[in-house]
Amino acid sequence: MTLELKKLADYKDIMERCIRCSMCKWIPQVQIKSWKYAQVCPSIDEYNFHAYSGGGRMIIALSLLTERIGYSEELLNIVYRCTACGACAVSCKYLNDLEPLEVIEALRKKIVEDGEGPLPAHKKYMKLTEEVHNPYGEEPSKRLDWLPSDIKVSKNSKLAYFVGCTTSYRRKEIAIATARIFNKAGVEFQLLGEDEFCCGSPILRAGGEAQVLDLIKRNIKAFKERGIETIVTSCAGCYSTLKADYPRYVKHDFKILHTSELLEQLLKEGKLKLKKEVPLTVTYHDPCHLGRCSEPYKEWHGEIMEPIPLVRFPVPPLPLRQGTYGCYYPPRNVLKAIPGLKLVEMERIKEYAYCCGAGGGVKAAFPDFALKTAGRRLEEAIDTGADTLVSCCPFCATNLQDAIKANNAPIKFYDLTELVLKAMED
C-alpha cells in the first residue's frame, strides 16, 4: 500500500472487496507443511469467531463505517485483541490485494478519533508516554541506568544507538550486549539518553495518531539537532516505526538499521570476528516488526484504469507490502557465523512467522492472550529440537520469556546480541 496516509473511509472499497476466503487465517497456502503449524493469526487462534481474523475485522470496520453497527465494548475488545502482526496482510496479498492490517490500524485510529478508545491499558501508557516519554512510566533520568561504566560512547558520532523504551528499562541485557559489541567492533555511537523519547510505536498501534504525530516531529527534530545520520536500534518495534511509519507522517532521510543488519555488515567487513564456540541448537523467531512489518511504504501517483470495463487496473501498478523485503537474513547470517551454533528453522518463518503475541497493545491490555500466543510459538520452537530460542526484539523477548516461565518450557531464550557477545568473548 502507498505512503499516503488514509482514513478508514478511504478503505471502504477495499473492505467491500473482501471475499471472505479466509486466506488471512493461514500462512500462505504454498508454505503449509503440516497440520499443526498451518495457521497464522494469533487472534482467531485464541477467540475463534470470524470477527477475530484480519478479514473479520475488515467486515467490522465496514459495518461501523456504514453504521450497520455502533460502538460497543465487544467491538473494542475485538479490535484490540489483535497484535497488529500483519500476518493476515501477507497471506491475503499472496493472491489478492486487500489490506487487512491497514484497515485494522485505520479502524483503531478512527476509534481514538471518535473518542471511543483505545482501551484503558492503552490510555494509561499513552498518558505516561506523554508525561515521561516512555510507556512504562519510568523516570527519563533513568534511561541510561543500564549503561555500564566501561562502555565507550562517542557523543558526536553520526551514528546513534536508539535503545528504545523496552530495552532501556526492561531488557537491559540487550542494550548492554549491543553496546559492548559496538565497542569491541570499533563502532562509534552516540546515545540520546534523556533525550531519547519513545519512538511512538505503542501509541501508533493503539490508534493514537495525533499523539504520535507530535512525537514523530519531536524525535526527528532531536535526531537532526544531534547531527545523526544513521540510527541503529535493537528493537523491532522501533525499527519498523522509524523506518516504515515515520515517512508516512514526516519524510526523513535517516538511515535506519537494526543491530542485526549492522552486525551482518561488520561481519562482512571483517570488523566483527566471532571465534568462540557457542554450542547451542537455536531456532530463530522473526519479530513481526523486524520482518514483514518493516517493509517501507512506497509512493504511488497513478490512477485506477479499467482496460476492460469492471476490471480495475492501477497504472502504474500499486506497490504492495507483501512482506517480501523484511529483514529476514541478517539475523540468520549473524547466527550462522557463530562457531558451534546450529540453526534450525521453525515451520512458520520470515514473512509468515507466527507472532510472539505481545504486539499491538495486546501485552498491555490482554496479558493472558499474549502469554497464550507466546506459548503456541514456544511449542513450535521446541518442536524443532532446538534448546535455545533467539530473537531480535526486546518486546518479543519479554513475552516469550514470560511464557517460558509460565509453561516451565524446556528452552532458553537469548537475544541475538547476547549470543554474538558470547561468541566474541575471549
Binding site: S22, P28, Y47, E74, L95, V311
Partner: protein, 522 residues
C-alpha cells in the same frame, strides 16, 4: 431474535466464550462472498451482507453439536452449519437461525496410509490434509475453491469439482464413512462406522441401501439435512515424489519442482479438436490434471499480478482452445513413458505444444499441486462467480461452452458483466475422462449495483439455456424457488427431495434456504 432462555440453554453447552449474539460478531457472518448476488436474487438491494444469524456458536465436539441441535428443536430455532465458510450458501435464510461455526473441530482423526483414506473434522483445510498425507506419498482431492477450504464440507455438503479431478475425482464420490448429526439431534453413522462391532471408516454404504443417497447429491445439501462432524475421504497417490521445498519470500516463492512432474499447455485449433484431445488424453490414463481453461484463464492462473497477466497478451492472442495437462510419475521410467505418450498424443490429435511459450513459473507447480490456480481469478478481477455447472460428458461440456459464448457476449454488451469475449470457461474432466463439467466463471464488480444485477440477469439466462438445450442441472439450483422451477423439467425430483426433508426434518430445523423446505411445519 433469540430469547434469553434460549441463548442460555445454548451457552450452557459451549460456555460463554464460545457463543455470541453481539451484532459486531454476527455481522461478520452476514457478510459473504457473493452475498450481494443472493440479495438481488431475493429481490433485495445488492448489499454485501445477507441476514444476520440469531447467534453464532462454536461447538468443540459431536456431542455438543447434538445438544445444540436438540436445543434448536426444543425452542424452534433453526441452525446452519459451516466449516471454513466461504460462499453465500453459508448464509442463514431466516432470522431465528443459529450459525454453527465448526472451527473448533479441526482434527485429522485418522490417516489410514494402507487403505488410502483420511478421517477429518470440519475445520481441517485441504492444505493441512495434503501436507500430512503427502508424508505418506498420498494426496487428497481439493475443490477449485482452493486449499484453504474444508475437505469435509466439500465431500459432504458442497459441489466438488477440482483442478485435479481427472485423477482425484469429484468430492461427492470420494466419501467413505460418515458421522452425521441429523436435524433431530440423533447421530447417524454411515456404512461400517454404524456397526457396533469394530466400527470403521472404510465404507459409507450399507448395510443395504446407501444412506449416502440422501446425504448430498451432486451439489450438496448445504447443511439442509443436518451437520457432518467427521468424514472419511479417499486419498490418492501423490502424483510425484512427495517433496515440498519452497524458498524465497512472498510472492516470489521458488519451488523446487519435485521429480517427476510436468505441465503442458497444448493448443488446438477448434472445439472439435479439443474435444477429441481431451478424450484421447484421458483414455490413455496418464494425467494428473487435464482440463480446458480459456486462454484468458490460463494467462491469469500462471500470472501472479495483473501486469504479468497482461504481459502474456501475445500468447493470449495465439492460443485458441488450449488444453492444460499435468503429468506426474514416481520413477524416471514412468515419467519417460508418460512423456512419450503425451508426445504421441499431441501428434495424433493435431495439437501444438505451447508450454515453453507460457514460461510456467516453478511456483505454479506448487500452486497446481495445492489447488491454488483457480484463486488467481480474484487477483485479476476482484470478484467472479460461475454460472452453469452441469456434469456429464466431455462433449456436452464443450457444447455448453460453445452455446454460452454468444449469450455471455450479449450481457457483456449490456454492461453488467466484465468482458472476457464470452470465453471465460473452466471445463474439467473427471475420473479419466468419464465425465466432465463446465462452468463459466464470470467477472463482475461486487460493489457496483448495476454489475451485480447484470450478473444475476446473465445467470438466469444461463439457467434458461441449460433447460432449453438440455445441458444438465446447474450448480446453483437450490432452495425452493429454483427447485420448483427446474423440478418439473427433471422428473419432478423436487417432490422426492422435499419428502426426504419432511421425513428427516419436518419442522425445518436445519435451515432449508439452500436446500428445500418441508411443508409439514406446524
Amino acid at each position: 431474535m433469540i430469547k434469553d432462555n434460549e441463548y442460555e440453554a445454548l451457552e450452557k453447552i459451549v460456555g460463554s466464550q464460545n457463543i455470541s449474539r453481539e451484532p459486531v460478531i454476527l455481522d461478520t457472518y452476514a457478510f459473504q462472498w457473493c452475498a450481494e448476488l443472493l440479495n438481488v436474487i431475493n429481490d433485495k438491494p445488492p448489499a454485501r451482507y445477507y441476514l444476520r444469524p440469531a447467534a453464532v456458536i462454536l461447538p468443540s465436539s459431536t456431542e455438543e453439536i447434538q445438544q445444540i441441535v436438540r436445543v434448536c428443536n426444543k425452542y424452534g430455532l433453526k441452525f446452519k452449519a459451516f466449516s471454513t465458510g466461504l460462499g453465500p450458501w453459508n448464509c442463514v435464510s431466516t432470522p431465528r437461525t443459529i450459525q454453527i461455526d465448526l472451527r473448533r473441530m479441526n482434527k485429522i482423526v485418522k490417516i489410514d496410509t494402507k487403505n488410502q483414506y483420511a478421517v477429518v473434522e470440519p475445520y481441517v483445510s485441504g492444505a493441512q490434509l495434503q501436507a500430512e498425507v503427502m508424508k505418506f506419498g498420498l494426496n487428497c482431492h481439493m475443490p477449485g475453491a482452493g486449499p484453504q477450504v474444508s475437505p469435509l464440507a466439500s465431500a459432504t455438503s458442497m459441489a466438488g469439482p477440482g483442478f485435479t479431478s481427472a485423477s482425484t475425482g469429484f468430492a461427492g464420490r470420494n466419501v467413505l464413512g460418515v458421522e452425521w448429526v441429523l436435524p433431530s439431534g440423533d447421530l447417524l453413522q454411515l456404512g461400517a462406522l454404524g456397526q457396533k462391532n469394530d466400527p470403521d471408516w472404510f465404507t459409507g454404504d450399507g448395510p443395504g441401501p446407501s444412506l449416502r443417497g440422501i446425504m448430498r447429491g451432486f451439489v450438496g445439501a448445504k447443511s439442509g439435512l443436518g451437520i457432518f462432524t467427521k468424514v472419511a475421504v479417499k486419498l490418492y497417490p501423490f502424483p510425484s515424489k512427495p517433496e515440498w521445498k519452497i524458498s524465497g519470500e512472498s510472492p516470489n516463492y521458488k519451488f523446487e519442482i519435485p521429480n517427476y512432474l510436468k505441465f503442458y499447455i497444448i493448443n488446438y485449433k477448434d472445439w472439435d479438436a479439443l474435444t477429441n484431445a481431451l478424450r484421447r488424453f484421458e483414455e490413455e490414463e496418464i494425467s494428473f490434471m487435464c482440463y480446458y481453461a480459456s486462454r484468458g484463464a490460463i494467462c491469469a492462473s500462471f500470472a501472479n499480478s495483473r501486469e504479468e497477466m497482461f504481459s502474456y497478451y501475445s500468447i493470449h492472442t495465439r492460443l485458441k482452445r488450449p488444453l492444460t495437462l499435468m503429468i506426474g510419475a514416481q520413477t524416471e521410467r514412468e515419467f519417460e513413458y508418460k512423456k512419450k505418450i503425451v508426445e504421441g498424443l499431441i501428434q495424433e490429435t493435431g495439437g501444438k505444444d505451447y508450454t515453453k511459450k507460457i514460461k510456467i513459473r516453478d511456483v505454479s507447480y506448487a500452486e497446481a499441486l495445492r489447488c491454488l490456480l483457480g484463486f488467481h481469478g480474484f487477483l485479476i478481477t476482484g470478484c467472479f462467480q460461475s454460472t452453469h455447472g452441469g456434469m456429464d460428458t466431455i462433449e456436452m461440456a464443450i457444447r455448453m461452452a460453445k452455446l454460452n459464448a454468444p449469450i455471455k457476449r450479449k450481457f457483456i454488451e449490456k454492461g453488467g458483466i466484465a468482458d472476457d469475449q464470452g470465453e471465460g470457461v473452466w471445463l474439467a474432466t473427471y475420473e479419466r475422462g468419464h465425465m466432465a463439467h463446465c462452468e463459466m466463471p464470470t467477472m463482475y464488480d461486487a460493489t457496483k449495483p448495476e454489475s451485480v444485477v447484470g450478473w444475476v440477469e446473465y445467470a438466469h439466462a444461463c439457467d434458461e439455456l441449460d433447460l432449453k438445450e438440455h445441458l444438465g442441472i446447474p450448480f446453483f439450483i437450490e432452495g425452493d424457488k429454483q427447485h420448483e422451477w427446474y423440478g418439473p423439467h427433471c422428473m419432478n425430483y423436487h417432490i422426492w427431495l422435499r419428502k426426504i426433508k419432511e421425513a428427516f426434518d419436518p419442522q425445518n430445523i436445519a435451515d432449508p434456504g439452500f436446500y428445500i423446505t418441508s411443508k409439514k411445519t406446524s
